[in-house]
């Protein structure tokens, strides 16, 4: 590794695609394009039965009765599961590992707390039979009034979350005395991950061993939950998830539909497949919580911030707790001597919200990055300039140095590539025929979440290298960067490396969430590969049968799959030849990044909960990724339609392990941000507390036609405080700040400030 010699995480990192920092194409690409990649529910198992969920049609109340007679008698029906007939499970601890309440867990419910809750399931010989029989179930309810959303009069102010409170200085007093004051409320609606592959699984029991084929962002965490539910040892549960059709945060936890399928399989003694319908994916698990924020900024006439007062509210469910940290960007983006942020959560009759790409930072940035734009207009300063005037030279909250913060470089590079200096400041001052043109800027950030990982690296008799890890690749490129890491570390061509992921039998890994996996796993593979390489060289030097034995060298060089001496004065043999000569069929090394004194309990906790994650402000530094988005919109002055016509984003994710894949993830985040800004909104029927646009024709995500060319530029430098190889987070960063950049551009185009997402045409005509 020559990490320290590397400055930019771009192609200059290395001429070769095959090493870390190179632009190797996705190694799993051909399997996906040709259809060879087998996804979870595509497994063909003997005796497979099909389960279909039946969901509540009320948002609040009780199931009075379920008449199963007709469904039981329908062709092919094997089982009708209701709260009365499904086996009772044990409660499972949450993702922090917090011990569960001491009461049995039933994934089918009688007490209804949201519309679309699982109340029954039908298992049949075929999928079609199960669907037909499910329609014959007659569920009757005693309905009670529901709290449908944040604006419901019954919702109240919610529950204060003290852990979210951040205070320094005297923010209220400083605001009151500030010469310039702005105050505005910003709202984001319920949004959904909408992965291409819907949630589903196949569960199979063999004795007290359970195998689950299920798309998963966290095999070991989900295996723990299944093990706890069914009261079997963790080792008895095997999760298999080699390919995942998108997760965006929604596939990290074992969910109630999984408990239903695994229960059905146990009761039936047959493997059971259960796949959610697309409408069920809108209520079977949580999307991003709806949020409200009030941001007040007090500043001097030069736009220098003196105070920020922030109040946030997010939805949670009646019986679950989700906190979307709304003050997370607010407290660190700009230097301010006085600050106050508080947050409440409000219980409504919905499924408990969940993680969706940059939970917390995403809506937080919509508030603060819109508000600073409003301040810029208030004081008459360019929106880019005001950000530089308030640049935080250190973490204003933790009062620590940034590990690296290339945000100034991001602003400068992005502005230059975008042509920001040609912007005319007044709203409605740029147009092309009927199209009003607006240019907006906003910044984004995401903390560097760190954890530990482990991996096995094997050097095989044919000279190839095999890597195994229970981490996953949901499209972000884990397979590929681990190939690069192993290839470079051992010294073999990338074609000679096979990476196996997505099986909980492999060495363990924590969640692929919070943009941490690449940093965790490149570190683990680097360690394991280094250890394997040491063994290989050790054998070559010391084994009497080795052709290098007589050379009496201190070390040897492995490159391109061949071993030689540094001075070139000895033999030059392939890895395969060496292993043959010393009589070994493989070398194997396990490597991990856990502290050396870790106990088995520590290890279990690290891989199956998020309790061991290292704080991003641990030690002397505050670690974050950063970005700046420059976005052009065209707004039709008659129709109010907004189209994004140009995006230039400069991003600091530290060192990039593979720029091609990082750029792809950044662009994906930006595209998702365009959807969030302009299209996405779960619309609730307020009479029924039900999401009515629960399908991909009515819940709009962007199409290709909505997306212009997007230019992404890496301005990162290796950050060795953040990870072993110098990278920071990639996957979540780029969505943060896109929505406010678009809202700011819309204001510049039209003079209308839209503070409620999405920015649909009726808000502008």
């Amino acid at each position: 590794m020559t990490v320290r010699n590397i400055r930019h995480g771009d192609a200059s990192d290395g001429a070769l695609a095959e090493v870390v920092g190179g632009r190797l194409s996705r190694v799993d690409g051909p399997a996906k394009i040709t259809g060879a990649a087998k996804y979870a529910v595509e497994q063909q198992l003997e005796g497979l039965a099909y389960a279909v969920l039946v969901e509540s049609t009320i948002a609040s109340g009780k199931v009075r009765a379920i008449d199963t007679e007709e469904a039981q008698a329908a062709p092919g029906v094997l089982q009708v599961l209701t709260p009365d007939t499904i086996i009772s499970l044990k409660p499972a601890s949450d993702w922090f590992g917090t011990p569960p309440p001491d009461k049995p867990y039933c994934p089918l419910v009688r007490d209804i707390t949201f519309s679309g809750q699982h109340v029954a399931a039908v298992v049949a010989e075929t999928f079609e039979q199960a669907v037909a029989a499910a329609a014959l179930l007659k569920v009757s309810y005693d309905e009670t009034p529901a709290i449908v959303d944040l604006s419901d009069a019954k919702a109240g102010d919610g529950i204060p979350i003290d852990a979210m409170t951040k205070e320094w200085g005297d923010a209220q007093a400083a605001f009151a005395s500030a010469p310039v004051r702005i105050c505005a409320a910003y709202n984001t609606p319920r949004e959904y991950q909408a992965p291409m592959e819907p949630h589903g699984l196949i569960a199979r029991w063999e004795g007290d061993h359970l195998t689950v084929w299920e798309p998963s962002q966290w095999l070991d965490g989900m295996a723990r939950t299944y093990a706890e539910w069914f009261g079997v040892p963790f080792e008895n549960v095997r999760l298999v998830s080699p390919y995942i059709g998108g997760g965006f945060g929604s596939k990290a936890l074992a969910l109630s539909h999984g408990a239903v399928a695994a229960s059905a399989a146990k009761m039936l003694g047959r493997p059971v497949r259960l796949v959610m319908t697309r409408p069920q994916t809108f209520t079977g698990y949580g999307g991003r919580a709806a949020t409200r924020q009030t941001v007040t900024i007090g500043a001097d006439r030069q736009g220098k911030i003196q105070s920020i007062v922030h109040r946030g509210v997010n939805e949670t469910s009646v019986d679950g707790m989700w906190v979307e940290p709304l003050g997370s960007v607010t407290s660190i983006m700009y230097a301010t001597p006085n600050f106050s942020s508080r947050q409440n959560v409000v219980r409504v009759n919905s499924v408990v919200p969940g993680a969706m790409r940059a939970p917390g930072e995403n809506p937080s940035a919509f508030g603060i990055e819109s508000a600073i734009d409003e301040l810029a207009y208030e004081v008459g300063i360019d929106p880019l300039e005001i950000r530089l005037r308030n640049y935080a030279e250190q973490d204003p909250e933790a009062k620590k140095a940034w590990s690296t913060r290339q945000l100034r470089e991001a602003f400068a590079t992005g502005a230059e590539r975008f042509g920001w200096s040609r912007r005319t400041p007044e709203p409605r001052s740029m147009r092309d025929g009927n199209q009003l043109i607006g240019w907006g800027v906003a910044a984004g950030t995401y903390p560097v979440r760190r954890a530990y990982g482990e991996a096995i690296v094997r050097i095989l008799a044919d000279g190839s290298v095999e890597v195994e890890s229970s981490s996953i690749d949901m499209g972000q490129g884990t397979y590929t960067i681990l190939v690069q890491t192993a290839a470079e570390t051992v010294g073999v061509p990338a074609d000679n490396v096979v990476v196996k992921l997505g099986d909980s039998r492999f060495p363990r890994a924590g969640v692929a969430g919070g943009s941490r996996l690449a940093g965790v796993m490149t570190g683990a593979v680097y360690k394991a590969a280094t250890s394997a390489l040491d063994q290989l060289i050790g054998l070559a030097i010391s084994d009497p049968r080795s052709p290098f034995h007589a050379l009496q060298a201190n070390t040897l060089v492995v490159a391109n799959g061949r071993i030689s001496s540094p001075r070139g004065d000895g033999p030059d043999v392939s890895i395969s030849e060496l292993l043959k000569s010393v009589g070994r069929d493989h070398i194997e090394a396990t490597g991990d990044t856990m502290p050396a004194n870790s106990t088995p309990e520590d290890r279990y906790k690290n891989y199956t909960t998020i309790a061991m994650a290292l704080p991003h402000t641990e030690g002397d530094y505050s670690r974050h990724s950063w970005c700046a988005h420059f976005i052009e919109v065209r707004v039709d002055e008659d129709f109010g339609t907004v189209r994004v016509s140009r995006v230039v984003s400069a991003l600091d994710s530290g060192r990039l392990y593979n720029p091609k894949l990082a750029e792809s993830q950044w662009k994906g985040g930006i595209i998702m941000g365009i959807g969030q800004a302009l299209l996405e909104e779960g619309i609730v029927d307020r009479r029924h507390g039900r999401i009515v646009n629960n399908n991909l024709a009515d819940y709009l995500v962007p199409t290709n036609a909505d997306i212009p060319d997007i230019e992404v530029i890496s301005v990162g430098i290796p950050d060795l405080h953040s990870s072993v190889l110098g990278g920071k987070g990639v996957g979540e960063l780029a969505i943060v700040g896109v929505a406010p950049a678009i809202a700011n551009a819309v204001f510049h185009a039209t003079g209308k400030r839209v503070r409620d997402l999405p920015i649909t045409l009726e808000k502008l005509i």
């Binding site: 329609a135 008659d638 029924h688 709009l700 036609a705 045409l761 009726e762 005509i765």
Partner: protein
């Protein structure tokens, strides 16, 4: 989706007879029917497959106009050179409808039978009340989420929007639906909901769409379809307009004008008041904008769909002015 029997019709007559039986439905592209079966709205007992019937997928143009077979794929019609040159609004309406995959499957006849996207209509498990689905059961949409509902042609029984694009262009140019021997104008083929929203088309059991005939005209030749929507592709209209125009020899005075609206009404909506207000007048922006307001005469909103009343006249005006500019 329930079990159903499948019948492959050997001829148009056999298809008609089979489709006349209770619970039978014709199956062509399947892009609407399968979708509705999956959400529990369509529950056919018998599917009568007509996809292989010969002689129903032609596109013929002569001096009188175009005749398009009921089984012609929408993508083929959209890309047909004669349609593009003589009926650009028809081609444009088709290109802007659905997705490439759906256009490659969907047929012209099936497109006319496309049903509403009203979310209450499409979710029988959660919303049992729907007069379109179950006559007399009530309407779940009124008082609910109405952003996509109609503002024109509604009744107390139903406010569901007609979602299609092609028929908007067809109604502008007086197209005729061939039901075997019987012929009905497209305008008459689509029924207002009135008290019978379950009855959407003037087609009787045992009848089958065999072709659509579009009379040629100067206005059709100089026409466009302007579709405004939240998403740039694969999205239903927030409001749309099919407009065709013919000028007098002076190139300024409007001799013939055709205007129809989509995305705002319970059926493809011909706006004759706009046509009449401008025919014989010189095309002039202010006059066009004023006349376009007549397009939404009688419109009634249900809250969230109010924007359509603002939007529709602007779409009409833009489309007329655009056609004026191409002189």
């Amino acid at each position: 989706m329930r079990d159903f029997s499948y019948l492959r019709a050997g001829s148009v007559d056999a298809a008609r007879q089979a489709a006349a039986l209770p619970g039978a439905m014709l199956f062509a592209g399947g892009t609407t029917l399968i979708d509705l079966a999956k959400c529990g709205v369509a529950e056919p007992e018998t599917l009568v497959d007509i996809t292989h019937l010969e002689g129903l997928n032609g596109i013929e143009l002569n001096e009188r106009g175009a005749t398009i077979g009921a089984l012609a794929k929408t993508s083929h019609v959209a890309d047909h050179a004669g349609i593009k040159s003589r009926f650009p609004a028809v081609s444009e309406a088709l290109w802007q409808a659905a997705s490439a995959q759906i256009r490659n499957m969907a047929t012209i006849g099936g497109n006319l039978m496309q049903r509403t996207r009203c979310p209450y209509f499409r979710d029988p498990a959660n919303f049992p009340a729907c007069n379109k689905r179950e006559p007399g059961s009530g309407c779940s949409a009124v008082g609910g989420v109405t952003r996509g509902h109609a503002v024109l042609g509604t009744s107390g029984a139903c406010i569901a929007m007609y979602p299609g694009d092609l028929a908007v262009a067809l109604v502008a140019f007086d197209a005729i639906v061939h039901l075997g021997d019987r012929q009905v104008s497209v305008d008459d083929f689509f029924l207002l909901p009135g008290t019978t929203p379950d009855r959407e088309h003037a087609i009787e059991p045992g009848e089958m769409i065999t072709a659509i005939e579009i009379p040629g005209s100067a206005a059709a030749r100089r026409s466009t379809y302007l579709k405004i929507r939240d998403r740039q592709s694969y999205e239903f209209a927030a409001a749309s307009a099919a407009v065709g125009i013919e000028f007098e020899a002076d190139g300024r005075t409007i001799r013939d004008l055709r205007v129809a609206l989509g995305g705002v009404a319970t059926k493809p909506w011909r706006a004759r008041a706009v046509e009449d207000a401008l025919k014989g007048k010189v095309l002039e922006p202010d006059a066009v904008r004023a006349a376009s307001l007549l397009a939404i005469e009688g419109a009634v909103d249900h809250g969230a769909n109010h924007y359509k009343i603002e939007l529709a006249p602007r779409v009409v005006a833009r489309a007329i002015l655009k056609m004026g500019e191409t002189a």
